[in-house]
Symmetry: C2
Subunit: 115 residues, 2 copies
């Protein structure tokens, strides 16, 4: 029973991790930070959204350990914690891409048949 509970807790944590990835703005932030660290103002400009919104999304990512922050004076710079998150996103992206290509192919074949 302990094993079952532990398994559930880990799955819950994993779901929580994935939740952080389930928003376009946060995905954008992660890919940006994969290039180089950014501070909040820079990210806000890149994203073209209000600053509080940027901070809130960063909080979601930070609380789950996907990013970490470093303060230099009044400026807080955010870094990507682990590149494997990007690797995982790239894998999902490629799976998604293939699936969409398949669907497009199917649509083409169907429309040819109906000519």
């Amino acid at each position: 029973m302990v094993t079952q509970t532990l398994k559930q807790e880990i799955t819950q944590l994993e779901a929580d991790f994935c939740f952080a990835l389930s928003d376009p703005t946060r995905i954008f932030i992660l890919y940006a930070l994969n290039d180089k660290p950014f501070n909040v103002t820079e990210l806000t400009t890149e994203l073209g959204i209000p600053q509080p919104t940027t901070s809130r999304h960063l909080k979601v990512l930070r609380e789950r350990g996907l990013v970490y922050s470093e303060r230099q004076g009044t400026v807080i710079t955010y870094h990507l914690t682990d590149n494997r998150v990007i690797q995982a996103m790239d894998l999902l992206r490629s799976a998604m891409h293939d699936r969409m290509a398949q669907q497009a192919n199917l649509v083409n074949k169907l429309s040819q048949e109906n000519v």
Copy 2:
């Protein structure tokens, strides 16, 4: 401008894909289907939840193409569409694991210092 819009749409799709992964029950289902195909009743038993709940989660996964279904009579068997989704989850899991190990290590060091 088209490029920007397209990029946003892809990111939105990706977020949508990740949303499907942001629930413990759905993660459980995906890992189960990675072992072998299951029908709805079997999954319901495995999960220990009401059948409608299983169907609803399967719908979320199906609509995003993470799983596909095959009907044989009244029974509908679900399959994992692409193993890369599991690979991605495993990457996230390992990143999460390392982070937690790091934190545990930090806690140990702190408690040793306070003895």
